[in-house]
């Protein structure tokens, strides 16, 4: 694994820990299909939540959330549909959350979660 992958992995671990504390039930991690990957799929009360985690160690290229572009949102949606078709879970509502983490010297500098982001 290269440095970026380690950063990403670290962020995802942090996110999972936080979500579990918040009462989310993690259903899947790194759900993969030919279209791509969804970092975390969890359920929050009645909702099925698809979560994208973005971790950055510097703001040189903007905030983590700024990397979730329109096309990325579109791709995540497609993968979500694929997941729904595959597993046919029974939920009333679905939503997409984004977790944004800024790491500095290996420590969490900023941790944000945007509910129902797109």
């Amino acid at each position: 694994m290269d440095k970026r992958q380690i950063t990403g992995k670290e962020g995802e671990e942090l996110a999972v820990k936080y979500l579990e504390e918040q009462g989310y039930k993690i259903l899947a991690r790194n759900y993969r299909c030919p279209l791509g990957e969804i970092d975390i799929i969890a359920c929050d009360n009645e909702d099925l939540v698809f979560i994208e985690v973005k971790t950055r160690t510097s703001l040189k290229f903007g905030l983590p959330v700024e990397s979730i572009t329109k096309s990325k949102q579109f791709r995540i949606r497609k993968i979500a549909l694929r997941y729904l078709a595959e597993t046919r879970p029974v939920y009333n509502k679905y939503r997409f959350d984004v977790v944004s983490i800024i790491l500095k010297n290996g420590k969490v500098d900023q941790f944000d979660i945007i509910h129902n982001a797109f």
């Binding site: 984004v98 982001a117 797109f118």
Partner: protein, 511 residues
């Protein structure tokens, strides 16, 4: 969080209040702009984002929604950059109090946070001052401060950049409202003009121009090439009295809307002299565009619209002049709204008597066929010629006249007489809200221009002989009125009317 910033948009010459609503909520960073923005307004997103960042403030990575209300009015131009930026700064708590909510904001942002001037600010500030009973505040780019500050009854704050504006709104820096007395610019040095004394001979035409200047009448000069028609027309501005304050402000408002005012020239102080080329399109002369801008007619308000070589102009352009010549306003209709601009000008036109230019010349023979002459003249329609009060022949000068030492009067002396005549007219006409004889309309002619019995008899004879139209009849009386005013006579005498009749050259030719 929501903030509402006041701004202004122009609809024709009038300002419409616009509410710029900015909402910032949590979500993925996005920036949406709604409320019928045109391309320049849509692009303000990028300018606002960069300007806020580069001015040293924080641009929120949140979900920003901007609405320009009322949503059914088309918004155009870059003037909304500033109110949008102020709304974002207010929403994110970067303004420490809410003084901003009391002012109107207009201005374009550059990427480094400097404010750039926008067109129409003088018209906006005038319109805002007219519309509200209390004194309102208007924040404008520094460049526009000079024009906006000419208006009384409004506090105008000129701001150089976003940083200064924020420290001003937060109270840490003081910006003084500009208030410029228009009189400071008025009565200054007149620009280089052709002086009457520089023109040799042509005493008759000069007299005609003096009458035209006195009453604001339209003029057509007909003569062979090289007789001095263009020079005479250009000298007309030098015998007109200078613009007064109200006129200067009205002219400047039109120039402001057209984007022709600058920092160095915030007030138009000289009478406009607009000379569009004869290839000009209807839209450029009358005014036009998707959201109509004032055309040459309106830019010539309180001044002269000079159409050199009148028959060469496109037919549709000339015919489009008819209605504004009568109403002294021009209305341009679009699906969304009708735009009205002033068009209160003196029309001065020149033409050759025929295609080769020598018909009726004393020395050179005209080689046009009667058909060619007829064709050339038919380019000018009767209804248009009817609206030109004074039609004069400009003969070619003889060698003696050309080399003679008879320099004639200087413009200044003529201008004094013209000014005195206009003063007399104004005394008589001020109750009717008009300034000079050419503005008298229809039924008012009989009331305001009393004829002596002798003059009346002459007019009746002429009317029958020349077959004058009703409009020409009224116009002859109005010219006679101006002649009488120049002579200082309250009643129109026979001699005045006789002189007026001789300026209907084309009526005489066909009559």
């Amino acid at each position: 969080m929501l903030s509402v910033v006041k701004s202004v948009a122009l609809v024709g010459m009038e300002a419409a209040a616009i509410q710029v609503e900015v909402d910032i909520s949590s979500g993925l960073p996005s920036f949406d702009l709604v409320g019928l923005p045109d391309t320049a307004v849509k692009e303000s997103k990028e300018r606002v984002r960069t300007a806020i960042k580069n001015a040293g403030f924080e641009f929120p990575a949140k979900r920003i929604t901007v609405n320009l209300a009322p949503a059914d009015l088309k918004k155009e131009g870059p003037g909304f950059d500033l109110p949008i930026a102020v709304g974002i700064l207010a929403c994110t708590g970067q303004l420490s109090n809410d003084y901003w909510s009391e002012s109107f904001f207009v201005g374009e942002l550059s990427l480094n946070g400097d404010l750039r001037g926008v067109p129409g600010v003088l018209a906006m500030s005038w319109s805002l001052a007219q519309a509200s009973h209390e004194v309102v505040s208007l924040v404008v780019p520094e460049e526009n401060g000079y024009e906006a500050g000419l208006i009384r009854g409004i506090r105008v704050f000129p701001v150089p950049d976003l940083k200064k504006l924020v420290s001003f709104l937060n109270g840490s820096e003081d910006i003084k409202p500009v208030n410029i007395n228009p009189d400071r610019y008025l009565g200054g040095i007149r620009g280089p003009e052709v002086d009457f004394s520089q023109i040799r001979g042509q005493a008759g035409v000069k007299r005609g121009l003096e009458i035209a200047a006195a009453g604001g009448h339209n003029v057509l000069l007909i003569g062979p090439p090289g007789a001095g028609k263009t020079l005479l027309a250009r000298s007309l501005n030098s015998i007109l009295p200078p613009l007064d304050r109200e006129e200067a402000l009205e002219v400047s408002r039109i120039y402001s809307v057209a984007g022709l005012l600058s920092r160095d020239r915030p007030l138009i102080t000289e009478r406009p002299f607009r000379a569009p080329h004869h290839t000009a399109s209807t839209a450029s002369v009358i005014g036009g565009g998707r959201t109509p801008k004032p055309g040459e007619l309106s830019l010539a308000t309180h001044g002269i619209l000079f159409l050199d070589e009148l028959p060469e102009f496109r037919r549709d352009v000339l015919e489009a002049l008819r209605q504004p010549l009568e109403d002294r306003r021009v209305t341009i209709s679009r699906v969304q709204a009708a735009y009205e601009y002033p068009a209160d000008f003196m029309l001065v036109a020149t033409a050759n008597p025929c295609q080769c230019g020598f018909y009726g010349d004393r020395q050179r023979e005209c080689n046009c066929t009667p058909y060619q002459i007829q064709k050339y003249r038919s380019k000018l329609s009767g209804p248009l010629l009817d609206r030109i009060d004074l039609q004069m022949e400009v003969p070619r000068l003889t060698l003696e006249e050309l080399q003679g030492h008879d320099d004639g009067e200087e413009s200044e002396k003529v201008r004094e007489r013209v000014a005195a005549a206009r003063q007399r007219q104004w005394q008589r006409l001020k109750h009717y809200g008009i300034y000079y004889n050419a503005q008298i309309k229809g039924a008012m002619v009989r009331k305001l221009c009393p004829l002596t019995p002798e003059a009346n008899e002459l007019l009746q004879k002429a009317f029958a002989r020349l077959g004058l139209s009703m409009r020409a009849h009224d116009r002859v009386i109005k010219i006679a009125r101006s002649i009488a005013d120049l002579a200082g006579s309250e009643l129109i005498q026979g001699a005045h009317l006789a002189e007026a009749l001789q300026y209907r050259l084309l009526d005489r030719a066909t009559g």
